[in-house]
C-alpha cells in the first residue's frame, strides 16, 4: 500500500506521495473544529477594539493594556495544557475541549459584563486561557492520528482549515455589524453560538483518547502500542530509528515514568533550532508597516496586507506539507525561513507593487513551510504519552523567542532606523539559518528513503 502511493508503480496515475490516501478523519474533524472556532474568535478580535473604545469609551491606552495583559500568560498556560493532556494518557480531547469551551463561554462573559472593566478583563482572560490550554493537546492529537510519514500533509490540512476560519471570522463580524447597525452584542452572541458548535464538532467527531496513528482501538491500546507503531505495512519504512539511548518512545512510556521531553537530545536540538530561528524573526507587522510606508498605501487598504499573506499560507499549507512528507521536514523548515530572509531583503529593495506581492507570497511560503511542518517534524520524535507537553514546550519556546526577536527589532528600529535594523535582522536570520542547519537532526523522524 505504502509503496503504491509513493509512485513506484509507473502505471499508477501520477499523483504526489500520499495523494491517494485520505487524510485521517480525526485530522479533518480537528481542522473543522479549528475552522469553526477561528471564525468565532476572529470575529470578536475584529470588533473588540471598536467595542472597547467606541462602545464603552475606554481610552486607547486602557485598550492596549487590556489587550496585552494576558498575552504573556498564554505561554505558561500552554505548558499546563500539554501537561494535563499527557497525564494518564488519552486526555487530549478533554483538555482541548475544555479550552474550546472556555473560549466560547468567554463571549457570554463579554456580553454579560456590560461595560464593567473587571468583567471584560475576566472574559478576555478566560478566552486566552482557553486558547493556551487547547493548542498543544490539539496538535498532539493531530500528530497521533496520522501516520508519521503523512504528518506534514495532515498538519497542512489542519492549518489550511484553521486559516480559512481566521479569514472568514472578520467577514462574518462585518456582516453582523452591517445587518444590525453596529450591535456589538449581536457579534458576541453569534460568536458564542459558533464557538459552541465547534465544541460540539469536537465532542461528536474527534475520538476520545490519544491513539496511535491509524490504530483502530482507542485508549486501552495506547499503553502497549506506545512505540510509534502504525499500520503493519508502514512500519518498516517509518519505524523510529533506534536510538543509542534505546527506543526513546516506547520503553519510557511503558514504564510509566514521566518522560521529560527536553531530556531527549534529538528533541532538544529541534527546540534549540526553532528558538534560534524564532529569535531572528522580527514580527510580520514590522514588514507590513514598511510595505505600507514604501508604497504610501492608503491606510484603509492596510488590513489587506496580512490578509494577502494569510491567503498564500492557506493555499500553500497542504502542498508544503506534502513536500515535507517526501523530502523530510527539515528541508522545508529551513527553506521556509529562507523565504522569510528573502522577504526581508525584498522589503529593503525599492518599493512597488511587485515587491509587495512578492513579500506577501514569501510570508505565505514561510508560514506554510514552517508552522505545521515543525509540528510534523517534532511530533514523531516525542513519546506518545509526552507528546502534548513536548509540543507545548516547543511552541512556547518558539513563541517566547519570537517575542524577544520582535522586541529586539523594535529597539533596533528605534535606535538605528528601519533600514539598518532590517539589515541586522537579515544578518541575524542568515546566521540562525546556518546554525539551525547544523543543529537540526538530519532525519529526526526517520524519513522514508
Amino acid at each position: 500500500m505504502y509503496l503504491a502511493t509513493t509512485g513506484r508503480r509507473p502505471d499508477a496515475p501520477s499523483r504526489p506521495a500520499g495523494a491517494g490516501r485520505r487524510v485521517p478523519g480525526t485530522v479533518v474533524a480537528l481542522g473543522a473544529v479549528s475552522l469553526v472556532t477561528d471564525v468565532s474568535s476572529e470575529m470578536v478580535t475584529a470588533v473588540l477594539p471598536l467595542y472597547l473604545v467606541l462602545g464603552l469609551g475606554l481610552s486607547p491606552l486602557q485598550f492596549g493594556f487590556l489587550d496585552g495583559l494576558f498575552n504573556g500568560a498564554t505561554a505558561l498556560v500552554r505548558l499546563l495544557g500539554g501537561k494535563l493532556a499527557d497525564r494518564g494518557g488519552g486526555r487530549h480531547r478533554t483538555v482541548a475541549g475544555v479550552g474550546y469551551l472556555l473560549s466560547a463561554l468567554s463571549r457570554l462573559g463579554l456580553l454579560l459584563a456590560g461595560g464593567a472593566a473587571a468583567g471584560i478583563a475576566a472574559a478576555l482572560a478566560a478566552d486566552r486561557l482557553g486558547k493556551g490550554v487547547r493548542t498543544a493537546p490539539r496538535d498532539a492529537m493531530i500528530s497521533l492520528s496520522a501516520p508519521p510519514e503523512e504528518l506534514g500533509r495532515a498538519f497542512g490540512v489542519h492549518r489550511a482549515m484553521d486559516t480559512t476560519g481566521a479569514l472568514l471570522g472578520p467577514l462574518v463580524a462585518f456582516v453582523v455589524l452591517w445587518a444590525t447597525a453596529d450591535a456589538y452584542d449581536a457579534v458576541f452572541v453569534v460568536s458564542f453560538a459558533t464557538g459552541l458548535f465547534g465544541v460540539l464538532v469536537l465532542v461528536l467527531f474527534v475520538p476520545a483518547g490519544a491513539r496511535p496513528a491509524v490504530g483502530v482501538k482507542p485508549v486501552a491500546d495506547v499503553k502497549p502500542a506506545v512505540g510509534v507503531k502504525p499500520v503493519a505495512d508502514v512500519k518498516p519504512a517509518v519505524g523510529v530509528k533506534p536510538r543509542p539511548a534505546g527506543g526513546r518512545t516506547g520503553e519510557r512510556g511503558r514504564t510509566g515514568k514521566k518522560p521529560r521531553a527536553l531530556g531527549d537530545p534529538v528533541f532538544r536540538r529541534v527546540v534549540t533550532a526553532a528558538v534560534l530561528l524564532g529569535a531572528a524573526t522580527i514580527g510580520d507587522s514590522f514588514l507590513y508597516l514598511l510595505l505600507q510606508r514604501g508604497l504610501d498605501l492608503p491606510a484603509l487598504l492596510f488590513p489587506l496586507l496580512p490578509l494577502g499573506a494569510a491567503a498564500c499560507y492557506l493555499l500553500l499549507a497542504v502542498p508544503a506539507g506534502r513536500i515535507a512528507d517526501r523530502s523530510g521536514r527539515r528541508t522545508p523548515f529551513l527553506w521556509g525561513h529562507g523565504a522569510l530572509l528573502a522577504a526581508y531583503l525584498v522589503v529593503m529593495a525599492p518599493p512597488g507593487w511587485p515587491a509587495t506581492v512578492l513579500v506577501l507570497v514569501l510570508l505565505g511560503v514561510f508560514y506554510a513551510a514552517t508552522d505545521g511542518v515543525l509540528m510534523a517534524l517534532a511530533g514523531p520524535v516525542l513519546p506518545l504519552d509526552g507528546r502534548a507537553s513536548g509540543l507545548a514546550v516547543l511552541q512556547t519556546g518558539q513563541a517566547l523567542a519570537r517575542l524577544v526577536g520582535a522586541a529586539g527589532f523594535g529597539a533596533a528600529w528605534t535606535w538605528w532606523g528601519p533600514r539598518p535594523a532590517l539589515a541586522a535582522a537579515a544578518l541575524a536570520l542568515a546566521a540562525a539559518l546556518v546554525a539551525a542547519r547544523r543543529i537540526l537532526p538530519e532525519r529526526p523522524e526517520r524519513e522514508v528513503s
Binding site: 467606541l54 489587550d67 452591517w178 447597525a181 450591535a183
Partner: protein
C-alpha cells in the same frame, strides 16, 4: 455515524436559529448607536457649554438639550463645528463632519481608525482631528495615531501630518515611528501645537503650516491645549508608570517654560479645553466605570475640580455669534 450527524445538524439549526433571532432582534432594537442629524432648532447661536451626551451619543447644550448631531468627539469655534463619527462596520473608519452654526453639513472626510481628538481654530478656519489606528501598531500594547489638518479657506486637506519635516532638539529628525496627536491651533491660523511621539517618548511640538515644518519644544507633553491668550498650554503629563493612572494635568507658561500641576489629582486622558481664560474642562471616567463625566478645574493650580456634566464628554465653551 448517522446519530452523530443528526445531533450535529440539529445543534447547528438551533444555534443558527438562535443567532439569527438575536441578530434580527438587535436590528429591530436599532443596533448600536445610529447616526442622527441635529434637530432643526439646535444651533450654536446660544452661548454656553456644549458637550457630547453619553446616553444619546448626541451633542448637547448644557444642561440637557441633546438635540445635536451624533458624534463621538465634538469641538466648535468661530463659525464652525467639527464632529467625529465612527462609521458602522469593521475595519473602523472615522468620518469628520464640518458644520456651520446651524448644523448644516458643509463637508465630510473619511479616514481610517477610531475617532480620538477634534479641534477647531478660534476663527473656525482650521480643523484638526486624530484617529486611533488599530492594526498597524508594531509594538504590543501601544497604538498608533493619524492626525489630519483641514484648511477651510483653501480646502486643502492633509490626511496625515506625519510627513511634516520635524526637528527634534534642534536637529532634523527622520524616523518611521513618529506619531502625532492632539493638535491645538494658535490665533494666527498658521501655528499649531501638538504631541509627537517617537522612540517611546512624547514631545510638545510647535508646527508652522505655511512653512510646513515642526520642531519639538519640550519632552513629556501630551494633548496640548493653547490658552485663548496664547501664553499658556494645558497638557497631560505622564507622571507615573502605573498604566491605570499615568497622567496629571499641568499648565505650561510658554514665556519661561515653567510648568505647574493642577488641582485635579486624578489621571486625565483627554485633551483639555479652555472654558475661559482661567478654567479648564475635561472628561474623566464616570462613576461605576461607565461612560465619562465633564469636570472643570482652575488653570492656576489652585481651587478644586468641579463636576460640570455627569454623563458627558468633549466639552467646549461656545461664545455668542461673532457678529
Amino acid at each position: 455515524m448517522k446519530a452523530r450527524s443528526l445531533v450535529l445538524i440539529t445543534a447547528a439549526l438551533v444555534l443558527l436559529g438562535g443567532s439569527l433571532g438575536y441578530v434580527l432582534h438587535a436590528r429591530e432594537r436599532g443596533g448600536g448607536q445610529r447616526l442622527v442629524a441635529a434637530a432643526g432648532s439646535f444651533t450654536l447661536d446660544e452661548p454656553g457649554l456644549y458637550y457630547r451626551d453619553s446616553a444619546t451619543g448626541r451633542v448637547a447644550r448644557g444642561p440637557g438639550v441633546a438635540d445635536g448631531p451624533s458624534c463621538v468627539r465634538f469641538h466648535a469655534a468661530g463659525d464652525r463645528a467639527l464632529c467625529l463619527r465612527a462609521l458602522p462596520g469593521t475595519p473602523a473608519r472615522t468620518q469628520a463632519v464640518v458644520y456651520d452654526r446651524k448644523f448644516t453639513e458643509l463637508q465630510s472626510v473619511t479616514v481610517p481608525g477610531i475617532p480620538n481628538r477634534a479641534r477647531v481654530s478660534a476663527s473656525g478656519h482650521l480643523l484638526a482631528w486624530t484617529a486611533f489606528a488599530v492594526g498597524d501598531s508594531y509594538a504590543a500594547g501601544t497604538f498608533s495615531t493619524r492626525t489630519s489638518v483641514l484648511d477651510l479657506r483653501t480646502g486643502y486637506l492633509v490626511k496625515s501630518i506625519e510627513s511634516i519635516p520635524l526637528t527634534v532638539d534642534g536637529a532634523r529628525y527622520h524616523a518611521a515611528d513618529v506619531n502625532y496627536w492632539g493638535v491645538s491651533f494658535a490665533a494666527d491660523d498658521n501655528r499649531f501645537y501638538a504631541t509627537v511621539s517617537t522612540g517611546g517618548r512624547t514631545h510638545l511640538v510647535e508646527g508652522d503650516l505655511r512653512a510646513w515644518s515642526a520642531r519639538t519644544l519640550r519632552e513629556n507633553v501630551e494633548c496640548p491645549s493653547l490658552s485663548p491668550d496664547g501664553t499658556r498650554i494645558a497638557f497631560k503629563k505622564k507622571v507615573s508608570t502605573d498604566p491605570a493612572a499615568p497622567w496629571r494635568l499641568h499648565v505650561l507658561e510658554l514665556a519661561g517654560m515653567g510648568e505647574h500641576p493642577l488641582a485635579e489629582s486624578r489621571s486625565v486622558d483627554d485633551q483639555a479645553v479652555w472654558l475661559d481664560g482661567e478654567t479648564l474642562g475635561y472628561a474623566l471616567p464616570g462613576q461605576g466605570g461607565k461612560g465619562t463625566d465633564v469636570w472643570s478645574v482652575p488653570a492656576d493650580g489652585g481651587g478644586a475640580p468641579r463636576l460640570l456634566v455627569p454623563g458627558g464628554s468633549s466639552p467646549v465653551a461656545v461664545a455668542a455669534a461673532p457678529n
